[in-house]
């Protein structure tokens, strides 16, 4: 019988020969799974016909966790065991979580690596485990609706996700037993969903404008000969539709002269009313807002909000997104007029105001006919189909970039950039560093990610130590540190001392990082803080210089200060040294530079004396021909 099953090459006759692969959009509020069936990408529903799986997991004392709508129902009555918005915790440290997790009703506990765990009735759960439970539910759904085992999945992540967050996402997939075909940036996935590579007219530069509830992502891509190339990514991880609701709620509060101290129920009431108004005004020009059921003391009358008024309130927020868009275009070296397509993603792009502003900016109609909630999962499914090898011939190739610069800590808390953001991946770069002190035999390597110049302003990815460097004079050892970023945007660092061959290598397994606000500030602040950074850098440089001088002179004085100097000379040098230590601890780099000069002058004669002395001693008792 088998002989009769003949198929054309490349066209499989048996549907089960097609490898089952899915695209997963692991979202903050909800998640989706999609797959390509009969050439069409589609999101997969559960048995009740629901496509969106709320990203909520409830842990039970002696039963398997509940995921999705079932868990969501217990957000209020079992808040401590019902975890939502876990995506915000991925790749974060306990300190960050304590800071921005204040509004979260969970009990956090630190583990040895500084990673936060949520204490539930079923034990401690890390954000990675919670995400894995969501992924498991999606995979089960896919396997039962596709009728077979999956070969793998493409999982999407926000373009601004740093190494720690990407690694955590991949770890979650591994925990759920999923073969990750690729981590794909959400905006890229959305662009792929539109199938722009099939149409000659769509070749060119594409902007993907992704405005979600709490984050904004902008990517500039170039589509050419079946290659989708990311030119630049940018955005603001603390900007989204939630800000619209906040602005409208604040307006209502002021209009009705409600005191600013609101309890939780009052806040929720206003935000719900704001959301209703926002949705209503996308259809009608005027909305009447009813304060019936207001959980406060007074009874408030109705309030009228026009679309025009609303737009005036929301425009400053949209301005921020427009500014970030222009910045990304500059990074990509693309002019506004060169953009041939604009793809809209994320629930908040349903806003008419956002659509108008973006369309005006680019001077063209927008691509928004695919459901903005599903477009990312659909694109991921198409890419999963390609990666699983189900398409033959000239398939689509995606070339992505590193979203945030990578660097190393150098003396004085400065960051030495090793790879700039928006560099195409995979990429490897090596940088050489040297020892700072005579006889130094170990070197700590501190890997950072971010756009700022000081270590404290960037995200710390990992620390490791290179030991066994042969003792040499300061500056003689050469340590080469190599960064390798793979196609998922994940980093591996290795270091080697070149003269001895001593090696150290780490897979970057991050343990702590930045708060939400810090992440958002990273790129943004690198622009507004150029001046600050520059003087901060000068300050650190001068401080390092001052420390070096003080240390060198202190060592010399201890050796032969009293032997070579008169007590007056010794006193002068010591006074200038004390003065240098004093200004060094201040904030004025000019003052430090000046004092370094004075100090250097004061010790000049002494340095010359030491030189003479050491020559004299070297020559002592030797005949001329012995030299």
């Amino acid at each position: 019988m088998a002989l009769l099953q003949i198929a054309e090459p490349g066209q499989s006759a048996k549907p089960h020969q097609r490898k089952l692969a899915v695209g997963i959009d692991l979202g903050t509020t909800h998640s989706l799974v999609a797959s390509v069936r009969s050439g069409q990408a589609e999101t997969l529903p559960n048995s009740l016909g629901e496509h969106l799986l709320p990203s909520v997991v409830r842990y039970l004392a002696d039963d398997a966790p509940q995921v999705g709508t079932k868990a969501q129902a217990h957000l209020v009555n079992d808040a401590a065991n019902t975890v939502m918005s876990v995506k915000r915790l991925m790749g974060r440290g306990i300190e960050d979580v304590k800071r921005f997790g204040e509004n979260m009703p969970y009990l956090f506990e630190a583990c040895d690596q500084g990673m936060p765990f949520i204490s539930t009735v079923s034990g401690l759960k890390s954000p990675v485990q919670v995400s894995a439970d969501i992924l498991r539910a999606l995979v089960q759904r896919a396997q039962s609706s596709l009728g077979g085992e999956l070969v793998g999945a493409v999982i999407t992540v926000p373009a601004y996700f740093d190494d720690a967050q990407r690694q955590a996402t991949k770890d979650a997939a591994q925990l759920a037993g999923i073969q990750v075909l690729r981590l794909l940036n959400e905006p890229t996935a959305a662009a792929v969903a539109y199938g722009l590579e099939h149409n000659q007219q769509d070749q060119g530069t594409v902007a993907v404008f992704d405005l979600g509830g709490g984050t904004f992502d902008i990517s500039i891509l170039r589509m050419e000969q079946g290659v989708f190339e990311v030119l630049a990514t940018g955005g603001d991880s603390a900007l989204g539709g939630d800000d619209f609701d906040q602005a409208l709620a604040e307006w209502m509060r002021q209009e009705r002269q409600i005191p600013s101290q609101l309890d939780l129920a009052q806040q929720r009431f206003l935000l719900r009313l704001a959301r209703t108004a926002k949705e209503l005004l996308s259809e009608v020009e005027t909305a009447q807002l009813c304060f019936e059921g207001w959980p406060g003391e007074q009874v408030y009358a109705e309030l009228v909000l026009t679309r025009e008024q609303m737009n005036a309130l929301l425009n400053p927020i949209v301005d921020k997104a427009i500014r970030a868009t222009k910045r990304a275009l500059r990074d990509a070296k693309v002019a506004l007029g060169d953009v041939s397509r604009v793809v809209m993603v994320g629930g908040s792009t349903r806003s008419l105001l956002v659509q108008e502003r973006v369309s005006d900016l680019f001077g063209q109609p927008l691509l928004n006919d695919i459901d903005p909630d599903r477009v990312v999962a659909l694109g991921a499914a198409r890419q999963a189909d390609v990666l699983a090898g189900n398409q033959s011939g000239d398939e689509l190739l995606l070339l992505d970039v590193l979203p945030l610069s990578l660097g190393l800590e150098t003396m004085g808390g400065l960051v030495e950039r090793v790879i700039d953001r928006n560099t195409p991946i995979p990429v490897a770069r090596a940088q050489e560093f040297t020892t700072y002190q005579d006889g130094q035999t170990a070197m700590a390597i501190h890997v950072l990610q971010g756009e700022r110049e000081l270590v404290q302003d960037c995200r710390s990815l990992s620390r490791f130590e290179l030991r066994g460097i042969p003792a040499m004079a300061a500056g003689a050892a050469k340590v080469r540190v190599t960064f390798q970023v793979d196609a998922d945007g994940l980093l591996e660092v290795s270091a080697r001392e070149l003269t001895s061959g001593v090696a150290a290598s780490v897979q970057v397994k991050p343990s702590f990082g930045l708060s939400d606000v810090q992440i958002a500030d990273m790129i943004k602040a690198s622009w507004s803080n150029v001046e600050d950074d520059r003087s901060a850098r000068s300050l650190r440089e001068q401080q390092v210089e001052a420390d070096r001088l003080v240390e060198a002179v202190a060592i010399a004085l201890a050796e032969d200060g009293e032997r070579l100097l008169t007590s007056k000379e010794l006193q002068t040098i010591e006074e200038q040294m004390a003065q240098l230590v004093l200004v060094r601890n201040g904030q004025d780099h000019h003052a430090i530079a000046k004092q370094i000069e004075i100090m250097a002058k004061a010790s000049d004669t002494y340095a010359a004396m030491r030189m003479d002395d050491s020559i004299k001693r070297a020559l002592a008792g030797k005949a001329v021909d012995q030299l």
Binding site: V151, G152, L181, R182, E224, Q225, G226, V227, E229, R323, K326, R327, R330, V386, L387, A388, G389, D394, L397, L398, L399, T423, P424, I425, P426, V427, A428, Q484, D486, A487, W527, S528, V530
Partner: protein, 175 residues
């Protein structure tokens, strides 16, 4: 794919400063199509690692050849020279004076009445100077006058640095 060969050879191009950047991009894309890790997701680990190595090399090659400054430096490095050596600091006096002037006008943009037009005119000036230095380099390299080529590329480095600072300033001012 031999990842120890020089960057020109991997694209089948002659060693030259003159490169058609659009054609180079097409060559780069077709090699990426063949070697990208996406083509090897179900292959054994060793093949996946190899794909990462090859595309890392290709990305480096493309980045080097697609930018005139990096391309010039690379051509001289192939000749065994090191135009970026820290000991290599001597520059003609008139060029240095001109650099100081340019740097001062860059600083003045901050407080200028109409910074945008100042940025535009300075950008045009830098682009002009860069393209002059590029043709200077191309001619010298062609004529195997490597020390003239080296001076041109080192001057170009100054100009590119200024362009980057101007870009950064534009970002700050327009935001």
């Amino acid at each position: 794919m031999n990842i120890t060969q020089d960057y020109f050879s991997c694209y089948g191009l002659p060693c030259s400063f003159i490169v058609d950047v659009v054609a180079l991009r097409k060559l780069h894309h077709s090699l990426q199509h063949q070697h990208h890790p996406d083509r090897f997701v179900s292959a054994p680990d060793s093949k996946q690692r190899r794909a990462v190595q090859i595309t890392t090399y290709l990305n480096q090659a493309y980045a080097t050849l697609s930018e005139p400054l990096k391309r010039g430096i690379y051509l001289l490095q192939l000749e065994g020279m090191d135009p970026l050596a820290p000991t290599n600091t001597q520059m003609p006096m008139d060029f240095l004076l001109q650099q100081i002037e340019l740097r001062e006008s860059l600083d003045d943009i901050h407080s200028a009445q109409d910074p945008e037009s100042k940025i535009d005119s300075m950008s045009a000036l830098l682009t002009h100077q860069a393209s002059q230095l590029e043709s200077e380099f191309a001619q010298a390299y062609q004529a195997s006058d490597l020390s003239v080529a080296e001076t041109a590329v080192r001057k170009l480095q100054f100009i590119v640095k200024l362009q980057q600072q101007l870009d950064a300033l534009e970002g700050v001012l327009l935001d």
